[in-house]
Amino acid sequence: MKTFHKIYRVSRIWILLLFALTLPYWIPNNYYLQVANLGMIFAILTLSLNILAGYTGLFSVGFIAFYGIGAYTSAIVVTRLGWSVWVGFLLAGVVSSLFSFLLGLPTMRLRGMYFAVATLAFGEITYQVFLNWTSITGGTKGIKGVPSPEFFGISLRPYSKYFYLILIVLVIVILLTRNLINSRTGRAMLAIRENDIAAEAMGVDVPKFKMIAFLIATFFAGVAGALYGHEVRYVSPESFVNAESAAVLAMMVVGGIGSIPGSILGGFVLTMLPEYLRFLGNIRLVIYGAAIVAIIIFAPKGLGGLIEWIDGLLSGTIKRGTHKKITEKVEDKNGHS
């Protein structure tokens, strides 16, 4: 059993990577491949929301606005100004962060529901701007002909190639988020979520670190939006209605609040599920809803918690029957004494 745990611990990351790298071959159908790409983009978006809501405790109900700002920014600078798609991606993050900064100035001092309501309003305003500022956003018709990026002369237009671009961005965002959480900044964010009074007593400038979390989260959300725009090559307001914000919140909750694997699973699974249930007709939406409720009831820590538990069993860090994690440090200590 011990050797099995060891083999598992060494090989799990490679198995996962191999699976991710070969995914386009597992999904030969072009339509489902596009859905998978969309799922990964939503995984990035869910992860960014998790930085804000899961780690810092700032519930944003209008988060799709920043995704939309990213999508529009890149689409506008690429189609109207003829800038490179890669600059578009970067600018999408920057402009999205810029808007979160402006929104954050008056709202970072608000607690709990007030911030949520402010973001809800911001989401609605953003949607109205997308819809009505026709000269820039194209209004209801949106922006057509958003080009695919090229990488050293290779067009990333086929979904099977664009897949790898999204995968790279996803991996980068995962690594950056993980590093962030294990740092002074990340811990300050967690402290604000847990207990803002104690956080302040620790010397944490609460509004400042809320703002940092907001800027980082919306940067990633903006990049995700640009990835979306250049994937579907068309940007229009209905992709960024407030109902989409609710969908992302659902992805985060189903995946597991404050869990990185959870965010990825939540984004991916909840994007794929309705498509794979399509053969059921309209009843699929009922099943989709029921599935969300079931996950919340039976796996309160979400899919991420479930995966971490299975991972713990396989790698031998959780003893069967107990849910208590036995850490290596304590094992060492007991071994010595």
Partner: protein, 254 residues
Amino acid sequence: MVILETKGIGIHFGGLKAVSNVDFSVEEGSISAIIGPNGAGKTTLFNLIAGFYTPTEGTVHFKGKDITKMKTFERTYMGLARTFQNINLFRELSVMDNVLLGLHTKTKCDPISSMLNLPNKLKEERESRKKVMETLEFLNLDHYVNEKAGSLAYGLQKNLEIARAIVSHPTVLLLDEPASGLNTNDLETLSQGIVTIRNSGITVVLIEHKMDVVMSISDKIAVLNFGEKIADGDPGEICSNPEVIDAYLGKDEE
């Protein structure tokens, strides 16, 4: 030298005078205690010193500077640390993360280097974790380093709160009822621990109801009653002060 001082400080919540016109000063390197009946305004005085409340009258001075207008986190940066009466830990975070947060003011890694794991971040993390382990060993918490703070027993949580407050080696440590809920054996350990903390160069101010702890370790004691200071002095003076006996200590009938 006086390191911490309040001058005529007071706060009124509507008509209620929670603390009124209190002069309270702490010598550097001493252990001072604030005692008094429940509701006398002891914790409120702490909250005024730490910056959780803004006083309606008077001023707070720390290290010779008027800090009355400063925010709580800025006072922490200056070297003012505290624990809370009803334990304010980050319950869902590990013991390690809790104490690492105590080092927030002593670290300075920016978000970008944090995300990119640049060498300056890795170095700072390594040093911080080492310092945390030392503090945890001092308070006998090193076995629990990866446990969730909220899952620890009550006494351990109290210790953890002290660990979190002293890891940054603050100038002044405010302890709000460190002995509450501890059994007699632990009281002795706690008293010794507080003296050790003082001997390491941290000035200690504590609120406490357990008189044997207060009397055995305090250099100076201030007594509050109905928001006003009714006495201060060394333990001997306080014990024999008739007003204090009347308001708080009570007569020894046996």
